[in-house]
């Protein structure tokens, strides 16, 4: 298999396989989780402005009072790499072109140089959280194979994409194929690892917000 065939495979069959597993996996996992249901709360609710599931979905995007200094790396590098991932994934022109073909909607992208800069910053932030995971006793204590594995899964698309754009290490065609393959691996594993928080974090925040909101506590 030469590199163009490899690229063709990852763009065609490979992507199809990855998308099928991703879509199937996401729906399966969502059903597995939310299908369990919960009991109705029979206690009399206390209404309080800002105490609801929806409010918590938004509010939890910011560190609660006093928490930022306790885990600065988790928070700051966490923000940087999450925002960075979103920018790189959704505002890079070739990615938009790809998504447009799937969701039939288009939006303006950012100049390549900006995306390039964001990619570097994002990778730096991811390395920072990795070092933090190794250096911080709690994080190291909690870490399992899954944590290292998912970090790698997330980092590879950034690294390979950046190397491909800069024509480093491997010929562009091969690197582009490796890049797409790394994204496919990410898609395949996302529903079955902690990366699934990309979906469930919103549900979790909603439950937390709704259940405490019932008590009039804006969590």
């Amino acid at each position: 298999m030469d590199t163009l065939q490899f690229l063709t495979w990852v763009r065609g069959t490979g992507l199809n396989i990855a998308l099928v597993i991703f879509v199937l996996g996401v729906l399966w996992r969502l059903a597995e989780i939310y299908g369990l249901g919960r009991k109705k709360d029979l206690s009399a609710p206390r209404n309080m402005p800002g105490a609801s599931g929806w409010a918590t979905i938004l509010r939890r995007s910011l560190p609660p009072p006093g928490m930022l200094p306790t885990s600065p790396v988790s928070y700051i590098a966490g923000y940087v790499f999450h925002v960075g991932l979103a920018v790189v994934a959704f505002l890079f022109a070739p990615h938009i072109a790809l998504l447009t073909s799937i969701v039939a909607a288009a939006w303006p992208g950012l100049p390549s140089q900006v995306v390039d800069f964001v990619t570097v910053v994002t990778m730096a932030a991811m390395i920072a959280v990795l070092i933090d995971r190794i250096a911080r006793p709690v994080k190291r204590f909690l870490s399992t194979f899954g944590d290292w594995f998912t970090w790698t899964l997330t980092f590879l698309p950034l690294l390979t994409g950046w190397l491909a754009v800069h024509h480093l290490l491997l010929p562009y065609t091969l690197m582009l194929a490796v890049h797409i393959l790394s994204v496919e691996l990410l898609l395949v594993f996302l529903p079955f690892t902690k990366l699934f928080h990309a979906f469930t974090a919103f549900g979790s925040r909603w439950f937390n917000g709704a259940m405490n909101g019932h008590k009039g506590v804006p969590v």
Binding site: I33, K39, S43, P65, S71, S74, T200, M211
Partner: protein, 419 residues
Amino acid sequence: MSASLDKGVRVLKEMIDAPIASYFSSCVHCGICAEACLFYTETGDPKYTPIHKLEPMRRIYEQEYTLLGRLAKRVGLSKAVTDAELAEWQELVYNSCTLCARCSAVCPVGNDIVYMVRKMREGMSAAGHSPEGIKGAVTRTINIGSPMGVKLPAVKAQMKHAEADYGIPIPLDQEGVEYLVTLSSMEIINFPEYLGAIAKIMRHVGKTWTLSSEAFEATNAGMQIGNSDLARVIVSRVVAGAEKLKVKTVISPECGHAYTALRWEGANLIGRPFTFKVQHIVEVLEEFRAAGLLKLEGMATDRLTFHDPCQLARRGGVIQPQRNLMKMVAKDFVEMPDAGFMNWCCGGGGGASSIEEGEELRLEAFKRKKRQLEAVKPDRLVTACANCRIVLEEGLEHYKMNLPVVGLTETIAEHIPDA
């Protein structure tokens, strides 16, 4: 698998619902919950990381309710939960967790960790892995009616004493009054002045009220140990008493978990909504204040601060009322750092204070409260939970800090002019 373990696992399977599944699926092992937990921040031991306290429950969730978990269990990659493991976790689930919910308030993905610990305790207690101290409290509550073995004659003696002290009659078993006042054993035993303060306040605002000979005890050790079957038996007594006397409102005493047990868990335990309202005494006082019924005299000139009981504030939604009340009686009211919603636990909530073997850890955790107090240097510390009060006093005594601790209700009562 022993019968008790089997039972515990089955209870956990029953407990796992969509929120718990969502929470376990969302955790990214960021460790931020540890930073919110005083047992971690004061000891630096990572095993006290809140989400780690749920590890056995997480495995049962994965093994029973997820595709990959079932596969992993089948091929032996995921080990079944054992009795020895639950025994090891007992310390984490009870001694080092006061159900304070700070972790639930900070988790970036929104996990309500304390909700899970509460459910985890259901399985732990069913499997026979709960601390002797809380077991004793539950046994006494079921058999005697109070976690501390208080019987009606003792209550009557205290009533008589308070009547003598304040010169106000204390009604018992009066039907059709507005308020049914409940007590915690702590108040009957250690703080009888609470009862006198209530009598004084009720006379001042002109409200009708009563104690009940059947439902004087508001606490619920069944909820602390985390067993709904037993908690249901206990809460049913209050429900029966309140419905028998046809009161409009049941007042939960200055006790944190009693409020959670009555206000939030009660209706769910008995499986139907209450026919009466449940309010914490602080909420009732706030209503009196807002209605202009509290005409207080004099202001304390010493520096006062308020310790928020977790179950009242973060878990109960009562945060502003106590501040409004404090400002009525204190010229110099200062807030500790993180006060209110993010307040730090005294270290003895959720049944932890009745676990003898947990005392050393509790005192270690108290360092957080000590720092908070040192930051504002108050002359007196006010709170609204008898358990907080004693845990605070013990901590202050241990660290040789000379700081009186008083209850909010009696502080308000002190400023009510003599009739």
